[in-house]
Symmetry: C2
Subunit: 393 residues, 2 copies
Amino acid sequence: MSGPREVAVVGGGLTPFGVRGVTWAELAQEAGEVLFRTVPNLRAADVDSLFVGAAEPERFAFQSHVAPLVAEQMGLAPHRIVQRTELACASGQSAIRSAYAAIRAGLSDIAVAVGVEKMNIPDMAEANSAMACVLDRPWDAAHGLTAPPFFAMVAQRHMLEHGTTDEQLAAVSQKNHRFANANPVAQFYEKKFDREKLLRLPLVAPPLRLGDCSSMTDGAGAVVLAAEDRVSEFTDTPAWIRGSGQYSDFHNLANMGSLTQWSGLVRASREALRSARIGPGDLDFAELHDCFTISEIIEYEAIGFCGPGEGGSFVADGRSDLGGDVVVNPRGGLLGCGHPLGATGIAQAVEVVDQFAHRVDPARQVPDPEWAMVHNLSGSANVHSVMVYERGG
Amino acid sequence: MSGPREVAVVGGGLTPFGVRGVTWAELAQEAGEVLFRTVPNLRAADVDSLFVGAAEPERFAFQSHVAPLVAEQMGLAPHRIVQRTELACASGQSAIRSAYAAIRAGLSDIAVAVGVEKMNIPDMAEANSAMACVLDRPWDAAHGLTAPPFFAMVAQRHMLEHGTTDEQLAAVSQKNHRFANANPVAQFYEKKFDREKLLRLPLVAPPLRLGDCSSMTDGAGAVVLAAEDRVSEFTDTPAWIRGSGQYSDFHNLANMGSLTQWSGLVRASREALRSARIGPGDLDFAELHDCFTISEIIEYEAIGFCGPGEGGSFVADGRSDLGGDVVVNPRGGLLGCGHPLGATGIAQAVEVVDQFAHRVDPARQVPDPEWAMVHNLSGSANVHSVMVYERGG
């Protein structure tokens, strides 16, 4: 065995996202069916390792030890590495990073990373409790500080500091919902949202309205990663993993510094770009974690697409749209596709693969993309996870 | 960056195991205190990655997204990789394997793997439900097939097929409790169990008595892993990771083959030994997953310490004790130390480090150990995880 090997995502697929009348296990099975259909050269016996990204099956589905469950549902018998990775809203990317490390280390040759989440359950109070325990439960969430009020606080502060407006928030939502209308697996496929409609939706936590928030979504997906000498068996346009960065800043909100300058993302994106040997200006598109509209605006600033405080005008001026500086969330984002926690990171990687292969709807196809970034935040934006991909072939 | 690097566990420590009057987060903090005390050359700023092994904080502690919580409690700010790994009872080893892969891949230089579990909670019905959802909940556990009845069924079958006796089961428990009496962090430290007492304890699920079952335990621990060029900063007797194997057989019990021949462990242990280039006879000691006495007996057979059906006499004849063929569970095992799910795999690795450094109580010190195996099963013995260590220096 020689040096660390290069690793690529060579294919993958998704179940439809939405409110799905199926169980957690059935979603995993569907992900397997889609995977083997979209990657026809993949044989189950060649998959030596399985990494399952899932945030909270213990509460949403009352099932733990889900890695062997997913293996069984997909017809796999991993004989090198099998595990679940959890990093709340970034669980899917975490599974991909684990597969990447395993192959790069020579411990796996062909690995599958799966994301599954079933959030719409009969007892939605239990589902909301599950979401609350993603934050610091006894100190923050128990006092009502769950995700929507936290990001509302962030938005209020960004408005105060930089004059960001409701219209600029709505511009993020409008763009991402427009892209989702060109993505058949999106939860909000064929649902139209114009700027005026978005600004009239009910307030969830001021200033955030319904259209500013990603939803509780069921969905699953899977990608295949391969070592460099196996890549050509599967695709002519591999998505090579060229950079990786993560940063964990704090847990209890009392230890967060600025609400609006996400230093963890500054560090994680710099590390990912440094390891890929490119700068933010080299990226053709980016899948950013738009759990709320304000998140995407702050992410532009932290990654360096624009200066501090300029995120609102960046989106309003079309600079994150097709024809702009960098296309952000051509998939439709979490806002347009829904956010089945563990599946989101997998869906973003599938978008990279499909964009590189030029096989998405022309209304969201980025012209000739060569470099892409994928970002997830998790919890109260206290952990940031970033990967950078280069198109091969 | 050159080829895959060798990786060693260079130090680690444990909190006391038992029924602890502290919270999940406090256990994590304690693990940090112990870690920095037992590895004095470790500086927080040098730790670039954190892997947290925890089985079910979502149910035991109503807290998810625990990786950043552990980072905060330990005073760490991981800037390369941060994640939780879950594989039920093997979650701790899963964290170590992830750290191993990351360092070997060149994605991390110094990583901490932490295991935390707080199982004794005010609502023990919730704790028992949490344990039930480790198995296939809707199809197996919901009908009463939780861990004790499952392993009781396995024991009954082993008795039928091979004539294994209650006394042989008790011999496992007696040996492991005797070792635990020489381990100050063990839950059953200074608790004496002779053969006669064990055979009079209440039946949990026939033929398994209280002394045949590991317990619901609170505990935490942490180990440091380092890349080969950093190892000498920390220790003269590194525990080099030389082999790794895992196998996922099935999930639903209907898909299990033989109850008593654990083919997944046959495969995982062979793979781990193959990658280490040794055979089972080369091992000086082994930390095997004795969640129930019958497990350890079957594990002897699957790993190849003895022939099929010979596990009962293997232990009764003292062949897995000091002075025998291979010392099994000198730490005291899960039976003697308790089984805080995510912390168990960390505790086993700490035992390897301490045995290699000759710093355990003489009553459990293996003479001049060079090779060690660590094994965890998880769920209904449907996943087996194995690592092989060589003493350096």
